[in-house]
């Protein structure tokens, strides 16, 4: 399997402090990669290294088939990025800022600026100086700039900051469209999983500068995150019945009388019948699903407890 972006044991140390340690990312061509982590986990640090703003202390980065070095400039032409908050020249208009970007990128295609402005609903604001823009408008202009030169790879650091829910939805749809129709590979970082859950193909979770897990959404779906929740009067007895009579092993007693059964082989009918036969009174029985958010929290918090 070839990857469009790959890092090998990427490490960044500043003043003896390890901001990022041993991160190995793998992003396939044409997918949307969600880069998740709580605040301060090292997302921006990794992204700064990917865009060559920071140089890694150790490890290597391969982008578009090239190993990144301090002299890698050509590869930047094929990438679009927003790192931290997008910056503009305040006294110039939105249109002029984008035009300037084209000049520096060496990209001249008629109508591309208008097109990008329209995609982000900024056509009417294009002739206003950027200093009069709202936070959300600047963020959208930043996205417009990142996609302006038709990059093959987009690296976006928390691109939905400062956007309202409607704006977020619109941006999500835009990313989805860019990925499916133009084949652009997108890497998005965020600390709010639900924002991107619906569009990502793969997620990578970083915590305390270390890569916790890299997993595709398909795998997550196959993993049985669904469980059956059981409320009983006597959990010990119920547990005995579950293991002895039904042969279940994958369950746990959560709190006062609640049992979660992760085994998806058993049906609720069987459960209630067997439990009733053995004299366990069931007060509630329900099928539940663990959300991805819970899973994500488990990954990041679990890591913390182990430490």
């Amino acid at each position: 399997m070839s990857y469009i972006l790959q890092t090998n044991h990427l490490t960044k140390t500043i003043d003896g402090k390890e901001l990022v340690k041993d991160v190995s990312l793998h992003i396939k061509k044409g997918e949307i990669y969600g880069f998740l982590g709580p605040n301060g986990a090292g997302k921006t640090t990794v992204m700064k290294m990917l865009t060559n703003l920071w140089k890694p202390t150790d490890g290597s980065i391969e982008i578009l088939g090239e190993t990144l070095t301090p002299q890698s400039y050509e590869v930047l032409k094929r990438m679009g990025s927003i790192i931290e908050f997008p910056t503009f020249y305040g006294h110039m208009t939105g249109y002029e800022n984008l035009k300037l970007h084209c000049e520096y990128m060496g990209y001249y295609e008629h109508g591309s600026i208008e097109n990008a402005l329209e995609m982000l609903d900024l056509t009417s604001a294009a002739s206003k100086p950027v200093k009069n823009y709202s936070l959300g408008m600047k963020e959208r202009l930043g996205i417009a700039r990142a996609i302006l030169c038709k990059p093959e790879l987009l690296i976006l650091d928390e691109p939905t900051n400062g956007l309202d829910p409607a704006g977020m939805k619109q941006i999500r749809e835009l990313f989805h469209m860019l990925c499916r129709e133009y084949g652009i590979t997108i890497m998005i970082s965020t600390h709010i999983l639900s924002e991107i859950e619906s569009i990502v193909d793969t997620i990578g979770v970083i915590h305390h500068g270390k890569m916790n897990k890299e997993i595709s959404m398909r795998e997550i779906e196959q993993m049985s995150l669904a469980y059956i929740e059981l409320s009983v009067q006597n959990p010990e007895k119920a547990a005995y019945v579950l293991s002895e009579k039904l042969g279940l092993t994958n369950f746990k007693i959560v709190e006062d009388g609640q049992i979660r059964i992760y085994d998806n082989q058993v049906s609720t009918q069987d459960l209630s019948r067997v439990l009733a036969l053995n004299g366990v009174s069931v007060s509630a029985l329900a099928k539940k699903g663990e959300t991805l958010e819970d899973y994500f929290l488990k990954l990041t918090e679990g890591g913390e407890k182990e430490c």
Binding site: N52, W54, I83, P86, T87, Y89, M92, Y104, M105
Partner: protein, 235 residues
């Protein structure tokens, strides 16, 4: 490179600087005009100019005030073109472009250098020319000690302007090291005192070796500022 320099001017709103430089030139002209013809520097008791030794004629004053003003102007421009670009993160944007960082920095430095060199030369020409023209009709308190007919005058004028504007790079280096626009401007002030001021009879203004040394030091600092950019992390 020329294109990068032009983009720098455009980005940093060069029109504003052209206007300010023009205002500065007019003020300098009026000031030096009053010096020469309105007698503002004259001692009220004796009626002759109250000057430091070696500054009895008009051209040292012209040199002093124009150089001083434009060195600070260069400092201000370097601060806003480069030092504050690091601070407000537009440098992050610039360094995400497929252009060598060194080339970007050199283009920014040249953008400031070319502008200030041109402005300083033009201002000096206007002031020297204006005072010379007026001296035909009015009597100057300071003797007119320059001759605008020979090429020597112009060569000297250009070389001096080059030295002054290049010295701005020392201020830039200090400003970049301290990550402060204020430090850039203050350093340019200090440079004036070093080169132009006098304590009693002691002055470095007439020293011929000093400008050469300063130019070399400035270029070394300029080189250092550019060299470190390539591998340094942006914070």
């Amino acid at each position: 490179m020329l294109k990068l320099i032009k983009l720098e001017w455009k980005k940093n709103n060069i029109g504003k600087y052209i206007r300010n430089a023009a205002i500065l030139a007019v003020i300098l002209y009026l000031f030096l005009f009053s010096f020469a013809f309105l007698g503002i520097a004259n001692d009220p008791d004796t009626g002759v100019p109250d000057t430091a030794p070696g500054n009895e004629t008009i051209s040292p004053s012209i040199e002093l005030f124009t150089s001083m003003s434009f060195l600070v102007f260069t400092g201000v421009m370097l601060a806003s073109f480069i030092v504050s670009a690091y601070k407000n993160k537009t440098m992050n944007l610039m360094f995400s472009y497929p252009i060598k960082r060194q080339k970007i920095l050199i283009s920014q430095m040249l953008a400031v250098w070319i502008f200030n060199f041109t402005a300083l030369v033009l201002t000096k020409l206007v002031i020297y020319g204006g005072i010379l023209a007026n001296s035909r009709f009015l009597e100057s308190a300071f003797p007119i000690d320059f001759d605008m007919t020979g090429p020597g005058f112009y060569i000297q004028l250009i070389v001096k302007a080059m030295v002054i504007v290049t010295m701005g790079f020392i201020a830039l280096f200090v400003g970049m090291a301290m990550k402060s626009s204020k430090a850039t401007i203050i350093t340019s002030f200090l440079l004036i005192f070093l080169t132009q001021a006098n304590i009693g009879d002691l002055t470095m203004a007439n020293n011929t070796v000093l400008p050469v040394i300063l130019t070399i030091v400035s270029l070394a600092f300029a080189f250092l500022s550019v060299c470190r950019a390539e591998t340094k992390d942006l914070t």
